[in-house]
Amino acid sequence: MNEMMTLAVDSGGLAPLPTMTPDEALVEAHRCLMCWDAPCTRACPTSIDVPGFIKRIANSDLIGSARAILESNILGGSCARVCPTEVLCAGACVLHDLHERPIDIGRLQAFATDDVVFGDVDLFVPRESTGHSVAIVGAGPAGLSCGAELAMLGHDVVLYDANDEPGGLNTYGVANYKMDKPTALREVEFVKGLGVSIRPSTTIGRDVSVEQLFSDHEALFVGVGLGSVPPLGLEGEDLDGAEDALDFIAEVRAGGVDLSGQRITVIGGGNTAIDAVSQASRLGAEHVYLVYRRGRDEMKAYPHDIERALKSGVEFIHWSAPSSIEGEGSVSALVCQRTEYSAEGKLVAVPDSEFRIAATMVLRATGQEKLVGFLDTLEGVETDEGGRVVVDDGYRTGNPKIWAGGDCVNGGKEVVNAVAHGKAAAASIDESLRPGAAGR
């Protein structure tokens, strides 16, 4: 593939890119070649008919366009904003090979769906109740997707979520420049409008027992995601200013955070680390560092996000691992060591290579832990050696009444993957509740 061409220019500001104007959308929609067996659709985990929805925009049928998207992906509104389209649909666009800018599929999708997801256009008519009831634990993207699909089929659905506000990582863990928190919460309202009940601030095992779940409902979908980023075991990790990068992002999303004068250091090389540094540099931090123990090519973050972070002034410190955090009461510096590959190909610390990075905050983005504790309370639900829930093709666990999807199954991927899991699980749950009823 050719070098990735950039999509709409990121303003570098705090706000997500503005919605397309009708004129912009029309021009962009007309650029689509309408490929047969389109590579963009094949690249989408939820198989959205991309040329189909774009053609409908071109033909001024926004309702039809929104339906084409949302019937494949009920969270099409947030996926339009948070999907790494550069490596999915837009990355597969054949216009790359014509040395042209790929179709800006994400923003077209937002244009098509906003009136339905965030406006007052009612697209989906509730079905008559089937009388079946399903519990969903975790109101993140997987749970919302599964719940929405089941509700649209006429099942009663209750989502239980431990947080104060539903939406999972869409609400708490996405960088603001992709999607702000009010937008995430408005999409949750849209899902509620499809007939889903949500019980926030409800922890299973504490506020509601697993036994209670099964006495109230016939099936359970687990979309609990992952836990927090565990401490690295460094000296000084208890100082003020040393925290989980996800907590930092959640604080930023709550609003009112001013980082002027702060020196922020983020440890890690994945998407959470990139989101944290990008967010920090946009909030006026004096200096933002990303510390990663290997080279840039080995970072798990997407190249386009890395580019964006570099452009916003983040300094990357490669081949370095943290050894301790210094400070009195609060963080003043991160102490690191250089790293290298040994002759055996093992990553090792370089002797006598210690250096200090002056820092007022040290954020760890070194991987979320699995919620093994909760999963252990579910009889028959097995996890693999990586702590991921084991499921079949229909996302059913070893317990025939329990399904699972999202990060707790794949170990942490995109919102769109979670949506795909929830949708497939919903179909499987429906089939188990009403054998042979699908498509009726």
Partner: protein, 435 residues
């Protein structure tokens, strides 16, 4: 740099680019600006008994975001006084003696009316007159425009009246709203026309406003059929120009080509099919007089590349390359060829051939999950469709096959002494149903 000057029925024009009778030639001030921009001639917006227009007069057809691919109007002839127009004609000719000013005319069907106005415009200095027998809207309801052009006898008679009055050349502008354009052209010739101009606009409804349910252009709660023009009509115009150029009856009758011309390529095509010069309206209504600069340079560069010193060398070279289907070589074989290096794997040729043509392209997924297309040579009928839908320049080409076939027309094929065998062509047998 090739010589672009042309002579059409005695009128010397510095180049073949004229403005057609239409809103861009409504006033002397506009025509002066057009001549400054480089137009060789202009046909003055039709004079006659001044009329009043309706508000809202134009509508268009946009295709895939391309604006005004087709354009329609319900505007009538000039709404300005004859006196003002005559003063301006005189002034324009005084300032631009080397440019051609033709004045379009449309009056009621009696010889005196024609005689009076022809004398007036000649007095003002018109180099020629053009009889507007073409407009299909409004004026036709009053017995003028296409109401004349659609009846060969009227066309002949009124052309005769004009010729009897005029001392300058008489152009007859033909309406395409007929079944056979050569009948109209013959009638004009019989009436003594010095040249024909074509095509005028095509009767049309461009669309319907889906909110108010009123067709476009909307005039209150109604619309009216209008005259259609613009790039969409060019193929129709080319066919009509070629038909007149090829008709022995009208051999030598100069043609001023009109219909969707916007670029130098369009100009070259009209001239190749027999036009002596051309007239432009819609493209100027879209982009302004400045487009003539591109026409000028483009046509000149093209003639240079062909080693031609004058645009006149181009005239009519394609006329005898249009023939009846029965004269085509049915043993001419082409097959599609796909350049896999250029292919971007969009699959459009596959689905076009599969659903829209002859099922002669196969598609499969490669190991890299791309759509790989291949021509099934034995099934390819060489229809061109795949090469037409392909978005990549030069990716799908139609390649001629030299297979030792003998040149053979349909009639030769039917005759007793065939010159050779019919080269086999792919054909579906029974596809569904009981054998």
């Amino acid at each position: 740099m090739a010589d672009l000057s042309v002579n059409i029925c005695g009128l010397e024009s510095p180049n073949p680019f004229w403005l057609a009778s239409a809103p861009p030639t409504n006033t002397g001030e506009q025509i002066a600006r057009a001549f400054d921009a480089g137009w060789g001639g202009a046909v003055w917006k039709t004079l006659g008994e001044p009329i009043e227009n309706v508000y809202s007069r134009y509508s268009s057809v946009d295709i895939n975001g391309q604006k005004m691919m087709g354009f329609s109007n319900i505007e009538l002839i000039t709404d300005r006084s004859l006196e003002d127009n005559l003063i301006e004609i005189e002034e324009v000719k005084r300032r631009y003696p080397d440019n051609v000013v033709v004045v379009s005319l449309m009056v009621e069907s009696n010889p005196d009316a024609w005689d009076t106005i022809i004398k007036q415009v000649e007095q003002a200095g018109a180099d020629a007159i053009e009889l507007n027998f073409g407009c299909p809207h409004g004026m036709s309801e009053r017995g003028m425009g296409s109401a004349v052009g659609q009846v060969p006898e009227y066309t002949c008679d009124i052309t005769g009246w004009a010729k009897a009055s005029a001392t300058v050349p008489v152009f007859v502008k033909l309406t395409p709203n007929i079944t056979d354009i050569t009948v109209a052209a013959r009638a004009a010739k019989d009436g003594g026309a010095d040249a024909v101009s074509l095509i005028n606009t095509i009767n049309s409804i461009t669309g319907v406003d889906l909110d108010s349910l009123v067709p476009r252009p909307v005039v209150g709660d109604k619309s009216s059929h209008g005259g259609y023009c613009g790039p969409a009509v060019k193929p129709i115009a080319l066919n009509m120009v070629a038909a007149i150029a090829a008709d022995p009856y009208t051999d030598g009758l100069p043609i001023s080509g009109i219909g969707g011309i916007a670029t130098w390529q369009d100009v070259a095509e009209f001239i190749l099919l027999g036009a002596t010069n051309i007239q432009v309206c819609t493209a100027v209504m879209h982009y302004g007089y400045r487009i003539v600069q591109d026409m000028h340079e483009g046509l000149s560069n093209y003639l240079d590349s062909k080693g031609m010193a004058s645009v006149n060398e181009l005239r009519g070279l394609s006329v005898n390359k249009v023939t009846d289907w029965q004269n085509l070589d049915i043993n001419y074989v082409v097959k599609a060829s796909i350049d896999q290096e250029k292919c971007v794997n969009c699959g459009l040729c596959y689905i076009a051939c599969q659903d829209g043509a002859h099922q002669a392209i196969a598609a499969e997924r490669t190991a890299e999950d791309k759509t790989m297309v291949k021509v099934i040579d034995d099934l390819c009928v060489g229809c061109n469709l795949c090469s037409l839908v392909c978005p990549v320049q030069g990716c799908i080409t139609m390649q001629e096959r030299e297979l030792g076939q003998t040149h053979m027309t349909w009639n030769e094929y039917l005759s007793d002494d065939k010159p050779g065998e019919l080269y086999p062509r792919p054909k579906h047998g029974l596809t569904i149903g009981r054998a």
